[in-house]
Symmetry: C2
């Protein structure tokens, strides 16, 4: 398996054709996997916004006030409002906002980015990342699988890693259940989320800084002759961490 | 960046010299990263056990009884006892056991494996995975960084992916804070856990089944000129999911 960045991509602007920009700079094959950072997908889709677009309601003002009090850093209630409007369920309100987005992804601040945005205060996540992935894929001659990735933190473990927030052309997971191990015994409960592992692998060569590249090609990786699982996100009913967070409050 | 499996490794037995077995089957270079599955590290270290080694105490019997009741599947109280003895903190007791191991890793059943074990009921995680990684590294001529990986599930997202449970020869994360983004603005709060991304990438070519290989070489990946962060696991005090789980019970 080999990974290489798509070189020399320009700064992406609303309306840019990402597929064309990537295809003209790479020799993408049908059996490659293309991993694209959500930031450039969002930019191409014009998912830019300003804080003034989000006049803060009472809940946003309350959350921002509480976060400011807890952290000692002034939190803009308009930002809290933006997060609320981009969320279907808030799991943590303070000392930071953790929420589920309409696509099912759970992330801090609903994945809204303030660090890498040209000419706007906020960069929102693509509204339907798997549809974005399908659109990019449809623009590529070989129609390889496409993953839209984002970096985020997680419980228990330090630091962030990239995950898939949407994808097209492949299932997110391979299902090893029923396969045999080396001792000839049947494997149980092994659904491998290859989409997340591919997103993380791509992030190793993408980088975050000024020299970072938002698109990476994965070559000579094989999904294999395995069943796929269609689910990228946990069913909320079986997600005990989510249940625990619903009953928890920072003290 | 390129990844390839170490071919033709034999079934690993207690006392086997993993470094030698891997080195003789690969052309490892000092700037490669070697990712080794915890299963073979455990086997080489003789971390095999039988259920009879764990006579169940009252807490294990209570947990096993509750899990059996909830899931309708008989849970062996000796297995619950093994998990308790391999754990420093139990975060979920039912309907499954989620706990922290002495090294700081949080996993289901303390990472104890029942699926891939020859001649024993249980395969325990290496007791000190970073020391295991250092030992393997010391046995390799070029002393490349070594990661010991395990696959496990996570909240919010479906399926499992591999993570690093121990490592030697490199920091687990690279710290982008203070670096500039494409717009010349300073990046904030971006600590990238490359060890987990490397473990996940390796898992894409390692596989789980009979043809799976437990050792993968990562070539032509560069940590880059960045600060490293020494932490692989979150500080429990800042881990709100952990705090929420402490106050939660399955109903």
């Amino acid at each position: 398996m080999e990974l290489f960045p798509v070189p020399d991509l320009p700064e992406i602007e609303p309306g840019d054709d990402l597929a064309e920009l990537i295809e003209s700079r790479s020799d993408l094959r049908p059996d490659d996997v293309l991993v694209v950072a959500s930031t450039v997908v969002s930019k191409s889709e014009g998912r830019l916004a300003d804080l003034d677009d989000y006049p803060a309601g009472p809940r946003a003002r309350e959350i921002a006030g509480r976060v400011s009090e807890l952290t000692g850093e002034e939190k803009d209630p308009r930002f809290a409002q933006a997060v609320l409007e981009e969320s279907t369920e808030v799991l943590i309100e303070a000392p930071f906002l953790l929420s589920e987005t309409p696509s099912g992804h759970v992330g801090v601040n609903a994945g809204i980015d303030r660090s890498n945005v040209s000419g706007a205060d906020l960069l929102l996540l693509p509204r339907r990342p798997s549809e974005s992935a399908a659109r990019i894929r449809d623009g590529l001659a070989g129609r390889p699988p496409v993953i839209v990735s984002d970096t985020c933190g997680r419980p228990f473990r330090h630091g962030q890693r990239a995950v898939a927030i949407g994808l097209a052309g492949m299932p997110p997971s391979r299902d090893w259940r029923g396969e045999l191990d080396r001792d000839g015994r049947e494997l149980t409960a092994t659904v491998q989320c290859v989409a997340d592992e591919l997103a993380g692998a791509a992030n190793l060569v993408a980088g975050e800084g000024a020299d970072g590249t938002p698109a990476v090609v994965v070559r000579d990786w094989d999904f294999g002759d395995l069943d796929g699982s269609d689910y990228l996100f946990r069913d909320a009913r079986g997600d005990y961490v989510r249940q625990a967070l619903r009953g928890w409050q920072y003290e």
